[in-house]
């Protein structure tokens, strides 16, 4: 049955995270302006009083939403508080953790589940096309170790992470099929955090450069354990790419949370200024500013629903590859338009660093880039529409 109303139980969980989000928001500007400062996540004075993350999969009745839907809404309202709220998430939320759960062996999952794992794919010479990865992994049969070499950039949370799932090729001549992912823990000799990026936004989250120089790891730290290089198809690569079917909606949800915060702020300012938002009226009976704001709200709502749709499919056990890209593509551009448009409406108030809207606009700009740019999402959607392969359309 089609329904868009949250149950009371759903709502209580989300209200709690919003409340916590507002506390975290007090520190948003501080994190933004102290990119260089390392503040451990739990040093927010109030963090000790925060309730543990509720079990999003728990449902009291048929009226409650599914776990993936709830996870997306939870993410939305976490980021509605502030993107840096993620800093105090329990240490199990890195992208590498998602890869571990999607592609790791049971033994690997058990061993590393409680670590914060970053994911290292991008290199100075390749971003959107991970099949061009040049970092290498060579097996030393004598010691049963992999020897890793290469440089990885834009590793989200890389400074804070306990370890990383890094992508390297075991056989350059095999192309995509030769790419495998490896679990490497911090402190392994030859694994160095070389740099922390200075960024436009999301400054509360660190972004690192890793250098691997003859870094030796045990043979069983190949994620999924399959050493075989299949000459045909994309082999293990596909397994890791599947990770993105839930992380893309999550990234879209980050953006939706931020744009909702910007809209809420702008709505309050419009109310103070006496602007009437009459949804029933025709265009001739609305001011230009009301019209613009209401359209941004509609865009936001549309985008949010595409995210929930992708999550709902996951809850039904249905494939959501296309829908994940649909919501990521939609939200990626929508949140840019919304946060930039809110500044348009707010004028100088919007660009003042006394408020957070200018920061939200900067934070939002990453949504259309990481976890697959908007253009990559469009390629995936188009391949789905045309029933094309990667070779047909790239």
């Amino acid at each position: 049955m089609i329904s868009f109303e949250l149950s009371e139980y759903d709502r209580a969980k989300l209200d709690a995270i919003k409340e916590e989000g507002l506390i975290c928001r007090k520190y948003a500007r501080y994190y933004d302006e102290h990119e260089e400062t390392e503040i451990p996540p739990d040093e927010l004075p109030e963090a000790k009083d925060f309730a543990p993350t509720p079990n999003l999969a728990s449902r009291q009745s048929e009226e409650d939403s599914g776990p993936s839907v709830m996870a997306m809404l939870y993410t939305v309202y976490r980021c509605w508080g502030d993107y840096a709220v993620k800093l105090r998430q329990p240490k199990a939320g890195g992208l590498g953790n998602a890869a571990l759960m999607a592609a790791g062996t049971d033994e690997q999952k058990q061993r590393w589940i409680n670590n914060f794992l970053a994911m290292a794919i991008t290199e100075p010479g390749c971003g959107s096309d991970p099949s061009r990865v040049t970092a290498s992994a060579v097996l030393d049969e004598e010691t049963n170790e992999w020897i890793l070499n290469g440089e990885k950039i834009f590793v989200t949370g890389g400074v804070r992470a306990d370890g990383v799932v890094m992508w390297a090729t075991v056989d350059k001549s095999a192309g995509r099929a030769g790419i495998k992912s490896f679990l490497v823990m911090k402190g392994t000799p030859g694994f160095e955090v070389a740099k922390k990026e200075k960024k436009l936004g999301i400054r509360g989250e660190d972004t690192a450069t890793y250098v691997f120089s003859d870094c030796r790891i045990p043979r069983d730290q190949l994620l999924g354990g399959n050493e075989e290089v299949q000459k045909k198809g994309s082999g293990g690569f596909r397994g890791v790419m599947k990770t993105f079917n839930m992380t893309r909606p999550a990234v879209a949800a980050f953006g939706i949370g931020i744009s909702e915060a910007a809209l809420d702020f702008t709505r309050e300012e419009l109310e103070k200024a006496g602007v009437d938002l009459d949804y029933g009226a025709g265009m001739g009976n609305r001011s230009a500013v009301a019209e613009k704001f209401m359209k941004l709200e509609a865009l936001h709502e549309a985008s949010k629903l595409t995210v929930l749709r992708a999550a709902w499919l996951a809850d039904q056990g249905q494939p959501n590859n296309m829908e994940s890209s649909v919501c990521k593509a939609h939200a990626g551009s929508a949140v840019r338009e919304i946060t930039q448009g809110c500044i348009d409406i707010l004028g100088p108030l919007g660009v003042s660093r006394d408020n957070l809207v200018e920061k939200w606009m900067r934070d939002c700009r990453i949504i259309d880039i990481y976890e697959g740019t908007g253009q990559i999402q469009r390629l995936i959607i188009a391949r789905g529409l045309f029933d094309y392969t990667r070779d047909d359309l790239n």
């Binding site: 049955m1 089609i2 329904s3 868009f4 109303e5 949250l6 149950s7 759903d10 048929e62 009226e63 409650d64 939403s65 599914g66 839907v69 809404l73 009459d278 949804y279 029933g280 009226a281 025709g282 265009m283 001739g284 009976n285 209401m294 359209k295 709200e297 509609a298 865009l299 709502e301 549309a302 985008s303 629903l305 595409t306 929930l308 749709r309 709902w312 499919l313 039904q316 829908e323 649909v326 593509a329 939609h330 253009q375 999402q377 469009r378 390629l379 959607i381 188009a382 529409l385 045309f386 094309y388 047909d392 359309l393």
Partner: protein
């Protein structure tokens, strides 16, 4: 609960209407548009699908299914996927029937529904749209003035479906500072129905007429919902959601038509679908069709649950109006010069989309 799941019944209805849209509606669409004509047997065929009567209680001649705005929205998307003009024609009688079901008094239902829910096509229609720039359904220029035992209506209504044959019209008018709706019989004194159908950009298949109300007198019992008045805001919300449903269907039609075309058409040595310029246009179009649909479902679901749906309906209507047109417009671009000719249906969908976006108050879900 957030759920995008159809009931089994909705799934079956969607399948049946999709088949009807492909097999019956689509093949008729071009001729009906060119000749501004609607075959009588089409109306009867649609009637027999039961779109108008299914949700009417058996006591009033209907089939007694639960009133479901989401089901109607789903059906309307499918019909409009066949053709929006024919979809509006098919659903126009429901506009009147649904208004009575949702907001009418028992007396009004008993008096009017049986006559509109028989085995033969019959219709009352909505008279909401008005002439003049910036017409606003929520602030009608048509006025209702209370007098003893009833009201006097004055004003002009445009784009009234089936002005040539509707037995009743539901006229929306300003009553002091409120909006109210009134049941007007076609033979009411002071009502002049335009002799010729209007000529419009799109939706040419459905005959629409102009009504002049020059001091039309109606009784107290003819005010929708009786003396307290029905919730005309909610009535307009169902109309916005309905038009948005049609826009989703039209936009989807354009995308589905362009996909095989782009895979066949070759330029510079390869199919144009393999060019990012074309592929991205269609990827974005598909994305917007999805986004529009979920906004429509959200509005329909709120209406179904009896919640305030004004904001949700505005969002569905405004967003689908803008993006539906954009998708259809892209459709023409994908086909290039061919898209500009009437050999292909894309220009028809483009005209439909442009028209649907500005016609609050012609159909409802």
């Amino acid at each position: 609960m957030i759920s995008f799941g159809l009931t089994e019944e909705q799934d079956a209805i969607r399948g049946a209407i999709r088949e009807f849209a492909q097999g019956v509606v689509r093949p008729l669409a071009r001729d009906c548009d060119e000749q501004s004509k609607l075959p009588d047997d089409f109306l009867q065929q649609v009637w027999e699908l039961g779109l108008t009567t299914t949700q009417v209680p058996e006591a009033f001649g209907g089939m007694g299914a639960d009133r479901s705005q989401t089901t109607t929205a789903i059906a309307l998307e499918e019909l409009a996927y066949g053709d929006a003009g024919l979809a509006v024609a098919a659903l126009a009688p429901s506009g009147f029937v649904n208004a009575l079901l949702d907001h009418g008094t028992e007396e009004q239902k008993q008096r009017l529904l049986p006559g509109l829910c028989g085995t033969e096509f019959a219709c009352g229609t909505l008279a909401v749209v008005e002439p003049g720039a910036m017409a606003d359904a929520s602030r009608p220029k048509t006025t209702a003035t209370a007098k003893s035992g009833g009201y006097v209506l004055k004003g002009t209504k445009r784009f009234v479906p089936f002005g040539d044959r509707a037995t009743h019209f539901l006229v929306v008018a300003a009553l002091d500072s409120e909006i109210a709706a009134f049941i007007v019989a076609r033979d009411a004194a002071g009502l002049t129905i335009g002799a010729e159908a209007e000529k419009n950009l799109g939706l040419r298949a459905v005959p629409v007429h102009t009504l002049e109300l020059d001091g039309v007198e109606v009784s107290d019992g003819d005010r929708l919902g009786g003396s307290a008045g029905g919730n005309v805001r909610a009535l307009l919300d169902t109309s916005r959601a309905a038009l948005a449903s049609c826009l989703v269907g039209v936009a989807r039609a354009a995308v589905e038509y362009c996909v095989p075309y782009a895979k066949e058409r070759v330029a510079f040595g390869e199919e144009i679908a393999k060019k990012q310029a074309i592929a991205f246009m269609l990827a974005e179009s598909h994305t917007e069709v999805e986004a529009m649909r979920w906004l429509v479902w959200q509005a329909a679901s709120k209406l179904e649950k009896g919640l305030d749906a004004t904001k949700a309906s505005y969002q569905a209507w405004s967003y689908a109006g803008e993006k539906g047109l954009w998708v259809a417009d892209n459709g023409i671009q994908v086909l290039g010069g061919h898209g500009f000719t009437r050999e292909h249906p894309v220009e028809l969908w483009f005209r439909s989309a442009r028209t649907l976006g500005v016609l609050e108050g012609t159909v409802s879900i």
